[in-house]
């Protein structure tokens, strides 16, 4: 089932949550809606589900306009951030719920329901919890039950709202790998909302970056990470540094500083260069085009060394990440002078200068 979002708008009072969004989601794809809080990603997801009604615009499943259709008739599976399991029902009853509330004519027999529920519980590897209550399960287990419950009605579309947001880091990493494998198995068109770029990059087939109710970029994880469409996407996907830069007509880029007042050449253009923290080389001696810096703060985070260095020309802070071993080999300490050279950068001409 493909999803088509055409010119959708939604306001809450004065706040524009979704601003004229157009988006097509292909059948069987696992798409991430990625953005900071307040970017409208959850609202968009709820509009697809039918839990929220758009002020204007059309939602289609395949070619069918379902904008006016009630949630209960859309056949979507929805997974909530805080699980929303029915507290007073056992795990079995929770998963069976979607089948037991079907009208009598369409309802499977009790034996069929039991068979299906048990199969789903096996799929989420929690068949031993059938008789328990949700309060007796851990967060990760609850979310897997919530997923099994959503899958029980064989949804045409699976929607997940920050599904791992309430879990601790280790469980979260485990579950997202598990979700990826599960999706490869069942291939239901899925959309999940997240503010965690790492999660989106790891799990999704496709990432839609949202900001202030609008779509900033839409592409595969690689496209979005390697070729950010604009500074917002660049900054949102990972730690970045900004440099003033001059770009020659030949494409050659030179980093400068804000206080650099040497005359601009005729064939040069001012711009802002975006460089990720791990795409900067640290040198112990001067080289052409390398910027002189002073080491300020050094933090070891597991296998990575995180450095904060000050640009000697304008005193601006630059974040650098490099493997611990590599940093040790440089034999540098706080207060030392060094030179840095971007290995890779993206320049946005005339942005914010």
């Amino acid at each position: 089932m493909s999803i088509h979002i055409e010119g959708v708008n939604k306001r809450f009072g004065d706040f524009v949550a979704v601003d004229n969004v157009n988006l097509d989601i292909k059948t069987g794809e696992l798409t991430a809606l990625l953005g900071p809080s307040g970017s409208g990603k959850t609202t968009l997801l709820r509009i697809i589900a039918g839990l929220e009604h758009p002020d204007s615009g059309v939602i289609r499943f395949n070619s069918e306009d379902i904008t006016g259709q009630h949630v209960s008739e859309r056949g979507v599976g929805f997974v909530f951030q805080h699980y929303a399991l029915f507290k007073h029902m056992t795990v079995f009853e929770n998963v069976a719920y979607g089948l037991t509330v079907k009208p009598k004519k369409l309802r499977p027999s009790k034996a069929e329901i039991a068979k299906k529920v048990n199969k789903l519980l096996e799929l989420v590897q929690l068949d031993w919890t059938a008789d328990r209550y949700p309060s007796q399960l851990s967060g990760g287990q609850r979310q897997r039950i919530a997923l099994a419950r959503a899958l029980a009605v064989e949804p045409k579309v699976l929607l997940l709202d920050e599904p791992f947001g309430a879990l601790d880091a280790k469980v979260r990493a485990e579950l997202r790998r598990w979700l990826r494998r599960l999706h490869d198995e069942i291939h239901v068109t899925s959309v999940f909302v997240t503010h965690d770029q790492e999660e989106a990059l790891e799990v999704a087939d496709r990432i839609v970056v949202m900001n202030k109710g609008r779509i900033e970029q839409d592409g595969t994880p690689e496209q979005v990470y390697d070729n950010p469409a604009n500074p917002f996407v660049y900054e949102f996907l990972g730690n970045v540094n900004l440099f003033h830069a001059r770009v020659k007509a030949s494409g050659e880029t030179k980093f400068t500083s804000a206080s650099d007042d040497t005359a601009q050449q005729a064939d040069e253009q001012d711009g802002l260069a975006y460089v990720r923290a791990h795409e900067i080389e640290v040198l112990t001696s001067a080289e052409p085009d390398a910027l002189p810096v002073t080491l300020d703060l050094i933090t070891m985070v597991g296998p990575t060394a995180r450095l904060e260095v000050l640009n000697q020309q304008d005193g601006k802070l630059v974040h650098i990440e490099l493997p611990k071993e590599q940093f040790k080999a440089l034999n540098l300490k706080s207060g030392d002078a060094a030179w840095i050279k971007p290995k890779y950068s993206q320049v946005f001409l005339g942005e914010g200068i």
């Binding site: 949630v71 979507v76 599976g77 909530f80 929303a84 507290k87 007073h88 979607g98 509330v101 919530a146």
Partner: protein, 296 residues
Amino acid sequence: MTTTNTLPLTSAAAVQDTPKATAEPRWVKWTLVGTALTFLTLFLILPLMVVLYGAFEAGMQVWWQAVTEPDALAAIRLTLFVLLIVVPLNAVFGVAIAWAIAKFEFRGKTILISIIDMPFAISPVVVGLIFVILLGSQGWFGPWLAEHDLRIIFAVPGIVIVILFGTLPFVARELIPLMQQQGKEEEEASLTLGASGWKTFWYVTLPNIKWGLIYGVVLCNARAMGEFGAVAIVSGRIRGETNTMPLHIEVLYNEYMFTAAFAVSSLLTGLALVTIVVKSWIEWKDERKKTSSTAR
């Protein structure tokens, strides 16, 4: 090895010797418990004993006569009849209003919340007078009611109306914070799973608010039985017809029939106690069902 062996011992001893950092001194604890118990004894248990003593002082037979005498029976019947109308109506109303307030956003919500409390704030006597002014024969709607041959004041409908008014907040008050705290995610989950609004209410909302609802109903029930001031004004106190149990007790008391007054009082108190016992019993059964299934 030796250190690992001795360490738990010494630390355990240390825990026992020094009081917990967060614990209050003993005298604070016992003063609080003592105050609470003394208060309960003086103002709850002692009066209850007095009622029971007064009721059974002259023996079982006198008690039985007092509660089976025709006027008393009429009062008991009327009280139960009013309960049957008022409690279900207020339960439905309470759920509806709590639902509206907790799950929807609309203008005037805060005003509505404060209006719900009005019956608690207004003196019952004033409530009675309001309805007499509105519906009495000299009242605003009096002539119209007389034309259509409807008697409300000094009749059973008037009693039902003032008790309905007086006990209106109980269920709603109990449910509003509960439903607000629960949010609407479970209902939304139910809807996405294909359940209709009605099924969602029945299978998800109602079980979640069950305890609040039962508690609200018990309080509403107890208050509806005991309502005096407003009823005294609108009922007209026609013996055997518009006297509820509290009014009947007052009549007996004013006629110096103390034993009979105490007898009916004990019955009224008994009814209230029964509702509380029923509530505790349901609670206990539910608890047992839950623990037995978790033990598996």
